[in-house]
């Protein structure tokens, strides 16, 4: 390797926007097309007084990075693997630095570096939501809802659905409590219970009837609330009194479970512990039937409710609903598309 005496090496003088001037080995600086052009076309850069003014986007720190890059890559003998390894290490910078680097490299027309940093930034953006991208790059959230044209937020955020879920969860908890109590009672009375089965049944019946009504009320309340949140101008008093006069009492003396959000564990076993339902299978069957009953009752109650809601200014004619109206029993014909 030839020994190059320091005084024989050529340097290019560069000035950054803040006024500071530095000298850089010629072959390194000339790796930047913009600098190269300046040197060749204007002759600038040969001394401190004639330093080449770099674009504003190139500050001293970033210039240092760029020159590191150039210093490495301008050496002709390197293999692709070496270059790649260098690049991979080189771009391990924070977002801010990467952005500045991209900008600066672009102003110096150093295309390979622009591509390298852009790809790194793109990888950081890939798969992220707009909010996450905004956070990464410290960007303002200045698009209006209309501009975004993203219809609605995620449904689980919807206050109506959350309310319904909370009510269900509360109901479920209440019913579980009751079941625990009942079990305790049964155990205590095991030896001394002289009440007839009928007495017991009617006791449970009576307790449940009230609960059923309250539950139905709260369900209907919720459903109406859903509806009313669409129509803020509708007066709420008359409809939300929980007038459940039409609701027949349950025929089965069983615990009513709000099955909607309870996970029924199927008859077959699962390995994971996600299923938290602790009720026994026999009771679950009862509950299924209760749910179906309830759904049917809901169907029969809705027409009246709908009439009330609708007569408050929307439609003239009531919407009566046909339950279980089903069209023709067409066979599931046809093949899914190939």
């Amino acid at each position: 390797m030839a020994v190059v005496k320091p005084e024989m090496k050529s340097y290019i003088w560069l000035q950054t926007a803040d006024g500071s001037i530095q000298q850089v080995e010629e072959e390194v600086a000339m790796f930047c097309p913009m600098i190269c052009r300046e040197v060749l076309q204007t002759g600038m850069g040969s001394s401190k007084n004639y330093a080449i003014s770099l674009p504003q986007r190139v500050n001293p720190a970033i210039l240092g990075l760029i020159l590191d890059y150039c210093r490495f890559h301008q050496v002709p003998g390197r293999s692709n693997k070496e270059r790649k390894t260098f690049d991979e290490k080189f771009i391990r910078l924070d977002t801010k630095k990467l952005c500045e680097l991209t900008s600066a490299a672009d102003s110096l027309q150093l295309r390979p570096l622009v591509d390298l940093t852009s790809r790194a930034l793109a990888r950081m953006i890939e798969g992220k939501t707009p909010e996450e991208i905004r956070e990464t790059f410290h960007l303002p959230d200045d698009l209006t809802e209309e501009e975004k044209l993203e219809p609605l937020r995620n449904m689980t955020d919807d206050p109506r659905i959350r309310l319904l879920n909370r009510l269900y969860a509360r109901k479920r908890k209440e019913l579980k409590e009751r079941e625990k109590l009942k079990n305790v009672e049964v155990e205590e009375e095991q030896h001394v219970d002289e009440r007839s089965v009928d007495d017991l049944l009617s006791f449970i019946n009576g307790a449940d009837e009230g609960k059923l009504e309250t539950y139905l009320t709260s369900y209907i309340y919720c459903a109406e609330l859903l509806y009313f949140l669409h129509e803020p101008d509708c007066p709420t008093s008359s409809c939300l009194n929980g007038d459940t006069g039409n609701v027949p009492s349950p025929s089965k003396p069983s615990e009513l479970q709000d099955s909607a959000y309870v996970k029924f564990s199927p008859k077959l076993d699962f390995d994971d512990g996600d299923i938290d339902d602790e009720l026994d299978p026999a009771m679950k069957e009862e509950i299924d039937r209760e749910v179906e009953d309830f759904a049917r009752r809901l169907n029969s109650v809705w027409p009246e409710r709908m009439q009330e809601i609708l007569s408050l200014g929307q439609e003239r004619r009531p919407v009566s609903l046909s339950v279980n109206g089903n069209g023709s029993l067409k066979r599931y014909t046809g093949l899914d598309g190939r």
Binding site: D106, P151, T156, Y227, V291, A295, S322, G327, G334, G337
Partner: protein, 578 residues
């Protein structure tokens, strides 16, 4: 922005982000990014052609080079969407011909394409390269002739499973001799004759041809000649795979196939004569994709063929494969990702093959990468589904079609709620699900509770009440497409979850219990939805409002009501306007 980029740098950065999802995210970050992104977007996917108008598209994205457009709802494949419903591409082509002179690609699915549109495409876009028409209709070979004549740089012509009227067999001759740019040609849907000499010459002068799918009209004898000029093929679809038995055909075929060293995918195989199957054995070990869905081959020929395809990732096959064949697949094809088993005799009253739930269980057990399933069968059990779910928690698309509606678990006679419940609970990445068999509201509860990444759900003859629909609409956070037929779902769940509909691409409900009155109400509340009532029996006004509508198609749109619909389609919004 604390790191300020000049626009061209931002544009350059954006050029590295090409997926639709990422582009959409970019556009929603802030005003500046929205502006920059829209001006440099090259490719747009529009899942519902009526969700937006050509004018809006052009106004927002001036630099589009590639458009992907879908028209009719998926249930059109089952003939549930009547003739003339809509999805005409012409307004799009007309608008783009004026504004996108640099357009290169048009990809359509389930749209009506006329010869006029094809002619306009062929003459408006000088750099036009790619035309993909999947399940489209309305055009003839004259339109194809225009494309062939005028598109100088055509790279891809894919007619998918379109319905094309064959007016002349010589449209292939319209490709000028100077056309050498073809990379992909799929004419498998064409019915009638084509000129073999034109085809041969075209293939011979297309050195970049990677995909060639022939139509049934191309006989077996022609394949050796064709393959000799196209030994660089990666995907090949045969024509009719039958001939009078001649020994030289066999050896020629085998030689021709062996010569295709890059061949990875095979399809076609209409009217297979099993004696000629050994000709493809040399390529089997390289195959990644095998489409035998038109091949009436049975075991043991089928077995012998598939057992050699150790690298298979995608298998489409008829149920002639039977459980035994699928067990072989499970043992031989360890890289299998996608399995589709189609019924050979869907309308027969009795099963004609020994294909049961066991076949699918075997594949789910033996193929660790299996993530996409479409399975037609006649019987299923909860136990099998639970096993499948446990074996394959990586499942992404699961479509089970038990041929007879409302078929219960044949061992326990129970609904299949628990089985599908297991699927949605175990397969946390599930994006597409088709249900069948006897199902109650409970399966929907499972789905609403667990299927948080589910994007598309197909339901038929299932459920007991509105509770079922309510579970799905309120629970499935990622739901984009919901299609329902013959289920007892009515007004309540729909109205209570009206807001959800704006977060979805579309909802289809046919032969359900949604009343005309509810449709009216919905349209009044949701101005950004098009509520289409499709009723071939006459205008719904003439019946009481409580009467259920025959078919209902609801989709979000920023283009407002459309005006190109036939008489039997009613867009409810028009009435909602004061």
């Amino acid at each position: 922005m604390s790191h300020s980029f000049p626009e061209q740098v931002l544009k350059h950065l954006f050029s590295f982000l090409t997926s639709d999802k990422d582009r959409n995210s970019l556009s929603l970050v802030c005003k500046l990014w929205y502006e920059v992104e829209r001006r440099c977007r090259r490719s747009v996917f529009i899942g519902n052609c009526y969700a937006v108008s050509p004018e809006i598209l052009i106004r927002r994205f001036p630099e589009i080079r590639s458009l992907n457009l879908k028209g009719k709802p998926h249930f059109a494949d089952f003939n549930l969407v009547p003739e003339g419903w809509g999805a005409y591409v012409h307004p799009w082509v007309a608008a783009m011909s004026r504004s996108y002179p640099w357009l290169e690609e048009i990809k359509l699915k389930r749209m009506v394409v006329s010869d006029e549109s094809l002619e306009l495409i062929s003459t408006s876009f000088e750099h036009f390269k790619v035309l993909v028409l999947l399940s489209c209709e309305g055009f003839t070979t004259d339109g194809l002739a225009a494309i062939a004549s005028n598109c100088r740089n055509l790279r891809e012509l894919d007619l998918g499973e379109s319905e094309v009227e064959d007016l002349s067999s010589d449209w292939l001759s319209h490709f000028p001799d100077s056309c050498t740019s073809l990379v992909s040609l799929n004419i498998s849907c064409l019915g009638s004759e084509i000129s073999f000499s034109d085809l041969e010459r075209l293939i011979a002068r297309s050195p970049n041809l990677k995909t060639l799918r022939l139509s049934q009209a191309v006989p077996l004898e022609k394949i050796p000649d064709l393959l000799c000029c196209a030994s660089q093929l990666v995907e090949f679809g045969t024509g009719a795979y039958s001939s009078e038995m001649r020994s030289d055909i066999s050896s020629n075929l085998e030689e021709a196939f062996s010569g295709c060293e890059r061949l990875e995918g095979l399809s076609g195989f209409w009217d297979v004569v099993p004696a000629y199957l050994p000709a493809v054995y040399p390529v089997c070990s390289r195959l990644i994709s095998l489409n035998l869905s038109y091949a009436t081959i049975q075991n043991p020929d089928l077995d012998k063929l598939i057992s050699q395809c150790h690298n298979l990732q995608r298998l489409w096959v008829l149920d002639y494969i039977e459980d035994t064949g699928l067990q072989l697949v499970a043992a031989s094809c360890k890289d299998l990702q996608e399995l589709r088993v189609f019924p050979s005799d869907p309308f027969g009253p009795e099963p004609n093959v020994l294909l049961t739930e066991q076949g699918l269980v075997a594949v789910s057990d033996g193929c660790p990468k299996l993530q996409t399933v479409l399975y037609f069968c006649r019987q299923m059990t909860n136990a099998a589904l639970v096993t499948i779910a446990r074996n394959r928690p990586n499942m992404i698309r699961f479509r089970l079609c038990i041929l007879e509606p409302r078929t219960p678990d044949y061992l326990t006679l129970e609904p299949l709620d628990a089985g599908f419940g297991a699927i949605v609970e175990q397969c946390k990445e599930l994006r597409r699900l088709s249900l069948s068999g006897l199902l109650t509201d409970r399966v929907f509860e499972y789905i609403g509770t667990h299927a948080k990444k589910l994007e598309m759900l197909s339901v038929a003859f299932a459920g007991d009440s509105d509770l079922g629909l309510h579970h799905v609409l309120s629970g499935c956070e990622s739901l984009r497409k919901l299609e329902i037929r013959d289920c007892p779902f009515g007004d309540e769940a729909l109205l209570a979850n009206a807001a959800k509909l704006e977060t979805m691409r579309s909802l289809w409900m046919s032969s359900c219990s949604v009343s005309f009155g509810a449709c009216k109400l919905l349209s009044q509340k949701m101005p950004r939805l098009n509520i289409e009532v499709i009723d071939e029996m006459g205008p719904p006004d003439e019946r009481p409002e409580s009467c259920p509508v025959n078919k209902l198609y609801i989709y979000r749109t920023v283009a407002g009501p459309r005006f190109d619909m036939p008489g039997y389609v009613r867009i409810m919004n028009e009435e909602a306007a004061p």
